[in-house]
């Protein structure tokens, strides 16, 4: 009988505690965390200036530490220790998030600041053919799109079919072995992929061969494991009861996969492919050894050297020529263009996901 009595006593006790501290007395005001952080920042700045060695990094670190201490003791005195811990951890997480955002924002800001001066109509329309200093990056943009496009054409069928094997058909040792090697392939250094593609084509075309498609093959080596991994995850979450429903209608397994499993997973598959594409589109090293360097537009991946944005940026920076600043500008502009392409791919992936995602239970 004791527990129920205790329970009955509890609410009144709680109410009493509330009444004794007052309703507003138990909670810090809404501005408290912001106020504490701002105050701590001012305090840290003043302390550092007084010590005569001001630096933004030390100031921010000090501000966070001071804010944690102040907020904890204040909150503990007013709200109790549970809320105090909650506030400190919230502050720490917000600080960690801010820290993680700093390199990202600063990178985007820097690339935009330095890249925009190099952008011009000429940059997108002209190649660098026959130009001593200047010219555009049209050949590099074209090359990036063609090389990446062919790499996607190679990787998507292989990657998705391998993922289908792993989720729908594979079992036992072979499946485990494949999963293991896919994981290993995910970690292959990109230059190794480039050398592999070079060695492969060298067998057939002799030494010194440079082709756009070689770059695509090298990029495929990097892309296939990513596609397999993401597609496998997406296919795994297609609920089994949908497969069973199709089987119960007398549907053969291959048709169940083609007509039920793949359409259900469509949005996820496309997103995975887009993100894998974004991952490989900026590769430099494997393309340096496979597609070579060239100044004119080449849209045929099976015929000769092909420029691309990453290698273009690298070259403009490495051998700037006489007008150094113009070359550096073009390198930054190429980097900015590359980032823009990756961002567009990401946005498209999100739009497709939102449009085609299927609700599954």
């Amino acid at each position: 009988m004791a527990p129920p009595v205790e329970k009955q006593a509890d609410p009144s006790g709680g109410a009493l505690a509330l009444a004794s501290t007052g309703i507003s007395g138990g909670v810090l005001p809404g501005w408290a965390p912001y106020g504490v952080v701002a105050g701590s920042a001012l305090f840290a700045a003043a302390a550092l200036l007084a010590a005569g060695s001001f630096s933004v990094g030390v100031m921010l670190l000090g501000a966070v530490l001071v804010a944690c201490a102040v907020l904890y003791s204040w909150s503990r005195a007013v709200e109790g220790s549970r809320r105090a811990k909650d506030r400190v951890v919230t502050l720490a997480i917000a600080a960690a998030f801010g820290l993680a955002m700093i390199p990202l924002i600063s990178l985007l800001y820097e690339v935009a600041k330095r890249g925009i001066p190099g952008l011009s109509v000429e940059f997108f329309t002209e190649s660098a053919r026959g130009v001593i200093n200047g010219g555009g990056a049209a050949h590099a943009i074209m090359g990036t799109l063609v090389i990446t496009g062919v790499a996607v054409l190679i990787s998507v069928p292989i990657g998705i079919m391998a993922a289908i094997y792993l989720t729908e058909y594979g079992s036992g040792k072979l499946r485990r072995a494949l999963t293991f090697f896919v994981d290993v392939m995910t970690g292959i250094p990109s230059i190794v992929a480039g050398l592999f593609a070079y060695a492969l084509f060298e067998i057939f075309f002799g030494p010194g061969i440079r082709l756009g498609v070689m770059g695509s093959v090298a990029l495929s080596v990097l892309m296939i494991p990513i596609v397999i991994r993401s597609a496998e995850e997406v296919l795994k979450i297609v609920p089994n009861h949908l497969r069973e429903a199709a089987y119960a209608l007398g549907t053969p397994k291959w048709k169940t996969i083609v007509k039920i499993v793949l359409p259900t997973a469509f949005a996820g598959l496309v997103t995975g492919v887009m993100l894998a594409t974004a991952r490989i589109i900026g590769e430099t090293a494997p393309l340096l050894v496979t597609t070579g360097v060239i100044d004119s537009i080449n849209s045929d991946p099976f015929d000769g050297r092909m420029q691309n944005l990453a290698v273009y940026a690298y070259n403009e920076y490495r051998s700037p020529g006489v007008m150094k600043q113009a070359s550096y500008d073009r390198a930054w502009a190429a980097a900015l263009t590359l980032i823009a392409i990756v961002m567009i791919l990401n946005v498209v992936a999100r739009l497709i996901y939102r449009r085609y995602k299927t609700e599954t239970r």
Binding site: S171, P239, H241, L242, E244, A245, A246, Y247, A248, L249, G250, T251, P252, K255, T256, K259, I260, P263, T264, F266, T358, E359, T360, R361
Partner: protein, 297 residues
Amino acid sequence: MLGAAGTKRTAAEAGQVETTGGAVTGTSSGVAELPIGRGAKTIEARNVSLYYGDFQAVEDVTMKIEPNKVTALIGSSGCGKTTFLRALNRMHELTPGATVEGEIRLDGEDVYGAGVDPVQVRRLVGMVFQSPNPFPTMSIYENVAAGLNLNAGRMKKTEKDGVVERSLRGANLWEEVKDRLDKPGSGLSGGQQQRLCIARAIAVEPEVLLMDEPCSALDPVATLAIEDLIRELKDRYTIAIVTHNMQQAARASDLTAFFNLEKTGRPGRLVEIGPTETIFTKPEQQATEDYVSGRFG
């Protein structure tokens, strides 16, 4: 409507002649002898034991599921009812490591015989699952037509429209969805989704319909609608239904089979099968009496 269904049936049988060859002669004469049924078939299980790897889930079940009758499988959780049901249309073997011993005969033909394609068996023995599972990428219309689209060859649009309407009417869903056939099936209520799944199952004109606790996720009103539907469907199909709901077994079934297991870890066995009334009023076995009267389980 009935006439159209009849012609469809013949077409399906013609297809079966192609695929299963000589064994069909017995099958079709069996169909002709049946008074009402145009395709309902008998399923006979003989000494069926079912395994998941080393674990034996069902031991030595011998029973007959009669055509044009509803056979209810009752028993406590884990006693192998669902496993047994899934063995009848060869869904059991889809679970990795699952094996079958004994014989299951569909009008005399062994469904586990050499050369029998499990895909063909599942076309003749349809299934409705515990939770409604319409295909999320498809509209209501496409869901019902899924069996036709996936398995039959090209079909005229008007013919397909006919099958879809007939199936939806058969599942008592037509009036509720006829104005929104192109909307996704997942937008329907749970009870409607389950009737959509039944429509999907009967659209391919199976001979046997297996139902695995079709009402366990539904409210009493939707349950009643499904039970009414089951009573109507038995005129045309052989129906086996797994249920945990004793009232449902009593209301909707003609025959009841009681499964039980001695204790956890032991395989489930068929305790007895008989007319539903007998099982619920004066069963032969004490265990059955205890179960249906609510003394355990």
